[in-house]
Amino acid sequence: MRFGFFPGCSQEGSSREYQESLREVASRLGIELAEIPDWNCCGATAAHTLNHRLALALPARTLALAEQAGLDEVVVPCSACYNRLAGTRHELLHDEALRQQITDIIEMNWHGATRILNVLEWLNRVAGELPGHVSAPFGHRVACYYGCYLTRPKALAACRRIEDPIEMDELVRAVGAEPIRWAYKVECCGAGLSVSRTESVARLSERIVSDAVERGAEAIVVACPMCHTNLDLRRDAILAAAPPGGRSRLASIPVLYISQVIGLAMGVSPRPLGLHRHHVPVRLSAAPPSVAPVAPGEGEE
């Protein structure tokens, strides 16, 4: 099996561990993730707030490149990139005149053959084979956090039930984990305000993390770099915003990517999965021996 892969800026920078864990899982499953040659930035929020045609042209070029490289299905880990690429594909397929205009701008032709998958859709494709590869079942209670982009807008949503998605819950269950029922699956974490108004992110993310902690989750599982940044990197701001008392669990609950959970269950050691890059150290009590405590910042290449 061969899939296209679009890393986007986050996979090379702030959430390199997501790409590392994804590639670990893929190789264990015998899947090749072929990076799209000469891919360009998807434009993210900056483009579509400034100029609609620019916001379409940037992803369209990547789509055309993927099509030329014969990559029919492209995995896009970052949900912002997923939204831009899938959104562009949707718009261009439904408006022939617009497609003509955009293909003129990028001076490349695109017939609409490429399909865009986010990590959950891709993992769903191979979900059947996961139990077979599980050597160390991830026996922990986890809170699956879907955030916003994976469930909105409805037309592009990768999840069937946009108000109470279950795709990640099913995946973690397939590798031995126990997903808990909790209320903040799709509540906002503050997203893009992470830099400009961190106190808002702190307030919103605090409620998410504290609800997970109160319901006995030992880890929060995410599938999007933005969610991970806010829930993990901003943990100090979250602690500052938290009401006094009961802060120890709030400080220590780790945030893992779905691909890391699956990697661990496959017996991959923490370093190749990039666990050492997390802000909140990944210490899971009574976890299978393979997960050694890793101090933050150690072993930075």
Binding site: R161, D164, W182, A183, E187
Partner: protein, 663 residues
């Protein structure tokens, strides 16, 4: 030889001002076949009409053309005049010299010439008209009412009181429908049972009404006035003639934990049960899916307990076939269950209930005997949240329409709660309050002002459970859209009113059309609200669209009056403008080759297959045959037929062709 009379009207000044009527009459007089041509100032007046009548008698006219206003205006008038003079009314045609000529063109030779052309067209057409007589359709003066809710009950009573036989078919063991489940009804808060039960008893005792409960329509064939309905009387496993309704069997029944449909799943019932105390007929039914005997062959406690030995375990379904002249569809509605809402807990939170379930809590005959107690721990909720528009007006959930009654019953629920739990606080999350009926707005104002119900204008985005409380996350858009969180003990969703789950299947049995939401389609939303496109089938109540009880009863009486009107005559007479398949002497029988491509094209399924058999019964040919009582005369089949074997009376191919060739 045709003897045509042409009568040109001045219509006062309306035609005379721009068309030289005398010249038109003169020109018409010279047309071949025209033996009489006059013009007169007011042809539709009494003297004008008598001009026509005298001419018909004196000149033995075989056809009449009146050049005057639009046929849509006075065709009936002039056709009646001809009939009174002994000429078949369908041998009279009108040329539109007013709306299509004098009123829209300048005075002058060109306009007069156009008038002459129009008259000539109709003269050529009328030469090919044939005398037609209205179609007589015998009527079976018995009505079939489907559905025993308030709509069906009202329609059945009205038709029966008009002196006609009625068969009322209800799917549940008792009539009463959803109204029987209600506690009080808005806007008067009178008890639903008190105003409904007398009507139910009246139905049971009415000599003209035959009541089939625990029965469903199996099939319906035929057409207006001559339907044949087959009804499946599901086996009750109880002999109705012996059973006295004493209830001994219900006490003894071993199965006590079955969720009661009547109590919307809140209460419990036994396998042999009567849905509610005031049930009509008050005779129990065995729920064979849940009865131990039917599962394992043991038990039979009810049989032992029955004083009159009325239990019949081996009773079979019974098929009853009846002839009816009209059908009133009053099959009612359903409500969305709480499991339809993922954001409100997918139905897994016990204390998130539907409006119908709250009705049962508030009802004196309900599982909590009227006390408002929450299903999880039977505690009286101190804080209750009502959510209006749960599912309705929500395209993302596929329900575009407003369910119309929720604002009113939500206000009623809040009021009932305030009256029963004095120290409790009720919240209502709403988008818009729709209280358009008589005394409706005043009713809602009472809930707000006297019963201090806190109306919060905003949608609830999510409900989740925390330490036994239900956290309702909403927003108050009137307080500059600040998020609002209420820790509620009980949440009531005013869920969307939808069509019955098997509405589509029923519509296909009746061959009637339905809309995207599976509500049945009325013939015309404004002018024929209680009729359907299929002649002889009427509709009443929520099966046509969400509506409250006053509208339902009004619609039911409307449908009943349509039926009574239809039954007031022994025969139904219909315009003879219908299609006819030509007949030829044997051995050809008809030029129709039996391809039946017309049969699929007919929107009214009016084309049937007629088998021509020889004396020895062998099949010679199968040809098309038009059912003249169902055909509406659109002519689609006539234009479709390759060999022109089917023709439309009143607009035959000959007539239309002649009209064209007259130009």
């Amino acid at each position: 030889m045709p003897r045509i009379g042409v009568f040109i009207c001045h219509c006062g000044e309306n035609i005379g001002a721009t068309v030289d009527c005398a010249a038109v009459a003169q020109a018409a007089g010279r047309l071949p076949g025209v033996v009489h041509a006059v013009d007169y100032k007011y042809m539709c007046s009494d003297p004008g009409q008598s001009l026509i009548k005298e001419a018909i008698r004196e000149k033995r006219l075989t056809g009449v053309v009146v050049g005057a206003c639009s046929p849509r205006m006075h065709e009936p008038t002039f056709r009646r005049a001809c009939a009174e003079a002994g000429l078949n009314p369908f041998l009279c045609e009108m040329a539109n010299l007013r709306e299509h000529c004098s009123w829209v063109h300048e005075k002058g030779e060109v306009t007069t010439q156009k008038a002459i052309d129009l008259v000539r067209m109709l003269v050529e057409k009328v030469k090919r008209n044939r005398p037609l007589t209205p179609i007589r359709v015998p009527i079976t003066k018995r009505a079939l009412v489907l559905g025993g809710g308030i709509a069906g009950i009202q329609a059945a009573l009205d038709i029966a009181n008009a002196g006609h036989k009625v068969v009322l078919v209800e799917r549940d063991p008792s009539i009463g429908g959803h109204m029987a489940q209600l506690s009080e009804t808005f806007p008067t808060l009178d008890c639903s049972q008190c105003i409904l039960t007398p009507r139910m008893v009246e139905v049971a005792q009415h000599p003209n009404i035959t009541l089939y409960t625990y029965s469903e329509l199996e099939s319906l064939d035929g057409f207006i006035g001559n339907f044949r309905a087959t009804i499946r009387k599901k086996a009750r496993s109880v002999d109705e003639s012996l059973c006295t309704g004493c209830g001994a069997c219900i006490q003894k029944c071993a199965q006590k934990k079955i969720p009661s449909e009547f109590n919307a799943g809140l209460g419990r019932r036994t396998a042999i049960y009567v849905p509610f105390p005031q049930a009509v007929p008050n005779k129990p039914v065995i729920d064979r899916a849940r009865c131990t005997y039917y599962k394992s062959g043991r038990c039979k406690l009810c049989e032992k307990a029955c004083p009159t030995k009325a239990i019949r375990f081996d009773q079979e379904d019974e098929l009853v076939t009846i002839d009816v002249g009209a059908v009133v569809v009053a099959t009612g509605y359903d409500v969305k269950p709480t499991s339809f809402f993922p954001e409100y807990g997918y139905g897994e939170y016990k204390d998130v209930i539907t409006g119908l379930q709250f009705e049962r809590l508030a009802s004196a005959s309900g599982p909590t005997l009227g006390e408002i107690r929450r299903p999880s721990d039977n505690e009286v909720p101190k804080k209750i949240v009502f959510i209006a528009c749960a599912g309705s007006r929500d395209p993302a959930k596929g329900i575009h329409y407003c369910s119309k009654i929720c604002c009113m019953y939500t206000a009623k629920h809040a009021m009932l709660y305030s009256h029963k739990v004095h120290d409790g606080q009720a919240y209502v999350f709403y988008m818009d309050i729709r209280a358009g009926g008589k005394m409706y707005e005043e009713f809602v104002r009472r809930a707000v002002e006297e019963d201090h119900v806190r109306y919060v204008r905003g949608r609830v985005s999510r409900i989740y459970q925390k330490d036994g409380k239900l956290i309702v996350k909403g927003v108050d858009t009137l307080l500059n859209s600040r998020p609002v969180e209420v820790e509620a003990d009980l949440v009531v969703l005013a869920t969307a009113m939808t069509a019955q789950p098997d509405a589509e299947e029923l519509a296909q049995k009746l061959k009637v059309s339905y809309d995207g939401d599976k509500f049945l389609n009325e013939a015309h939303p404004k002018l024929r609200p209680v009729e359907m496109n299929t002649a002889g089938i009427f509709v009443a109540g929520a099966c046509q669209a969400p509506k409250d009880i006053p509208e339902t009863v009004a619609q039911a009486s409307g449908a009943a009056s349509k039926v009574a009107g239809m039954f007031s005559r022994d025969e139904l007479s219909r315009e003879p403008v219908v299609a006819v398949v030509n007949r030829q002497p044997p051995p050809v029988w008809s030029t129709c080759v039996g391809c039946f491509l017309c049969e699929t094209a007919c929107a009214y399924q009016a084309i049937e297959r007629e088998e021509i058999r020889g004396r020895d019964g062998s099949l010679i040919r199968t040809i098309a045959k038009v059912n003249e009582s169902v055909c509406q005369g659109c002519g689609t089949c006539v234009a479709l037929c390759r060999s022109k074997s089917i023709d439309l009376q009143g607009y035959t191919n000959e007539q239309v062709y002649a009209e064209l060739l007259a130009l």
